[in-house]
Symmetry: C2
Subunit: 407 residues, 2 copies
DNA sequence: AGTAACTAAATCAACTTGATTTTCTAAAGC
DNA sequence: GCTTTAGAAAATCAAGTTGATTTAGTTACT
């Protein structure tokens, strides 16, 4: 497995000790505040089932470390006034990178997800040799221009289209980035920048972004349906990011929704992303140069009521509905979040035509959340999600953190 | 949410402490032995990353509690001879119940999964009022006849067809059990028997069975595709059972594989279980009374080379292939396990015709496990899985155990 | 002699407990 | 209207508990 695309450590179920417990408890405190907003020590103690003394110690440490900051004392109630703590945005920074067919984008965000710097560069279906130095340059430029405290840099998160390492799928067709099969992106970028790198597909990154800062903040299980050049899903299940045994969970662009339908470069027929994706729209519009078309075009066509675009919309709705049906049935998420590179207006147009959704396990009157919502991050969802990756990885309470590293 | 079908506690991410850690570490020791077979203290220490002293203490406790038993000392190597420990089958017992359209089955198993007693009763699409006293009677008969140490009874696990609590799906159609919509099975059975009850759909139960004792013992992520009266999937992801936000994950019987295809009682057309399920086979064979047909019939027809049955087989393969494709794409599991009430010979006939499988993220040359395997438990997979549920819940290391119960 | 498994006692880190202090609101008394 | 007193909630202090780790052996084999 050496030189693999992404480092996938073989997980072993290992024991735990006080050290791991402390690390977990610190994450729990941060997560409680992230989800609920500013909280007093006493409130955190109630939420986390830890003793108030323990919370007091942890909050003190986190404040000293610059991760938490006190807010104005709350008066008006009985008893000693509570001092709420919120997350200090300047407690940490993260670099997010996004690479796709036509653009490389980089951002720096703080702990609150606010963008502190942004760089955009045009590319044209770049190979690793072309892209890696560019990505490294974007990173260092971002860090230099934003003049942040380097010791507070949590890492680099990078988003790019999947799937990873699948023969006959990673390198074939107009929705895939050619030449990246088995290229060790994370290792190479780490070598070039000297900073820890996390690589995920764009849908997974977007899901993390929505979970930290967007519409999925309070959700335990949701699916992010990412409509980009192709189409993929990011899976957040039971409070954990699910990436799959080979890091390719959610690559549903090539599920068959129309047996015997449109031929796909993967060799199958009727694949979902032949109907619902930027590429599908470009193809339907018979553009002269679909490889270099821009999503903005679709927004214009939508606004102008272009009949061919309307036809694509009408044809895309049922496959999309089917995709949502499959995801709801297979995963029973609280909600499906829609987003991607597809312009927000187009996504909203699609979402507006989805009803009536298919009958599924999501069809229950006891629902509290809508079955489908549109993501909050807009077309930058992928880079913002990428930047959220290191923050998520450093602050999210997860099973891994509670277990001793083995080996 | 009171009176809900299953108790679904609202999970809060809570803190941990030494007490939770100890509980987790004990589970880790048991799991290590379950997966790898008998292990010496030193070997467990290496596997779990815990100190040998900690393991020594835990093993001592578990032996005293009757959960572990020493094996013959291993000689022949250098150093002090190691004493391997294995799981004491008599360390605990579990009752498994299974209810479907035509049968109620109950078993008692020990910790090794061996069946110690078995009871079978005919039923005919039972309502809760009919079934609950019967299930309680089966339980008490099993406990009485097997004369096990009641203090070592871990609980009752029950498997039944899903989905649960979905209007227009739980109670409609020939593959659903009518009248169970919103009936609080677990609570009611607990009240009748005085024993803790865990209820899951049959696919989930089967998945747990295969994970504890079958072909999925060493797998971290797999999908159990359960072909019964209908069709469903049990999801074991990243070492955890994934049940979905409303307990209905894996209910893929009603995903659309043939748009505009055979009409289904759920209102959609072309649902998967109209093509791949016992009921689909019965329907294709034009049986006079499909509600009371037996899976055994299919086995006979297969053996005799019946042409109509062969036609069903041929027609079922592509939808099944598509279902596997969807599951592989969405979840990227290590393996898809096939099983259910469908006779083993028929499942093997289906499995044999699956190749070539669709191109998916599972198509990589770096695989160590086959893409599809047939489950080890045979047609009792559902009851055995049901019996495995309490054992799993008591001994599997999971995130929940490490967190303090909140509220 | 060398090596690996195991044991016992002491140590340590982090959470818990219960008492105490702080700081406020609400209500009563004058 | 002002003062006093009771009550409540938040936060802290200090001692106690728990369970993993460390250290220093001992045992039983090649």
């Amino acid at each position: 497995m050496a030189g693999n695309y992404l480092m996938i450590p073989k997980k072993a179920i290992s024991g735990t000790n006080l050290e791991q417990a402390k690390s977990h408890n610190r994450r729990v405190v941060i997560e409680a505040i992230r989800i609920n907003g500013a909280l007093s020590r006493a409130a955190i103690a109630r939420l986390t089932a830890l003793s108030s003394q323990t919370i007091s110690n942890i909050v003190e440490e986190l404040e000293a470390a610059g991760l938490l900051q006190p807010e104005a004392t709350l008066k008006g109630a009985r008893g000693q006034p509570a001092v709420p703590y919120s997350i200090n945005p300047d407690g940490g920074y993260s670099v997010g990178l996004q690479l796709d067919h036509q653009m490389a984008v980089g951002v720096v965000t703080d702990l609150s997800g606010t963008v502190r710097a942004r760089i955009e560069r045009d590319v044209d279906r770049p190979t690793p040799t072309q892209a890696m130095p560019l990505l490294a340059a974007i990173s260092s430029d971002l860090i230099a221009t934003s003049r942040l405290n380097r010791t507070r840099l949590l890492g680099i998160g990078m988003a790019m289209p999947g799937p990873f390492g699948v023969e006959g799928m990673t390198s074939v067709g107009p929705t895939a980035l050619p030449g990246w099969q088995d290229f060790p992106v994370a290792e190479e970028l780490e070598r070039l920048t000297g900073i820890a790198v996390i690589v995920e597909n764009d849908a997974t990154a977007a899901a993390v972004g929505e979970r930290l800062y967007g519409v999925a903040r309070k959700l335990d299980s949701f699916v992010y349906l990412f409509i980009g050049t192709g189409l993929g899903a990011g899976l957040f299940l039971d409070g954990h990011l699910y990436k799959g045994s080979r890091h390719n969970a959610g690559e549903i662009g090539h599920i068959i929704v129309r047996p015997g339908g449109l031929p796909c470069d993967c060799g199958k027929r009727g694949c979902l992303e032949r109907y619902v994706s930027l590429r599908a729209a470009y193809d339907r519009l018979d553009l002269p140069d679909p490889d270099h078309a821009s999503p903005d075009l679709l927004e214009e066509l939508l606004a102008s009521g272009d009949s061919r675009f309307e036809a694509w919309l009408a044809e895309a709705v049922e496959p999309l509905r089917q995709a949502i049906d499959v995801l709801e049935m297979a995963l029973d998420p609280e909600t499906v979040v829609l987003g991607g590179f597809m312009p927000l207006a187009v996504i909203e147009a699609l979402a507006g035509r989805l009803e009536p959704l298919h009958l599924s396990v999501s069809s229950t009157s006891a629902r509290t959340t809508p079955r489908v919502v549109v993501g909050a991050a807009g077309k930058d969802t992928s880079v913002l999600g990428a930047a959220a990756l290191p923050i998520f990885s450093e602050t999210n309470p997860q099973f891994d953190v509670l277990q001793k590293p083995v080996g």
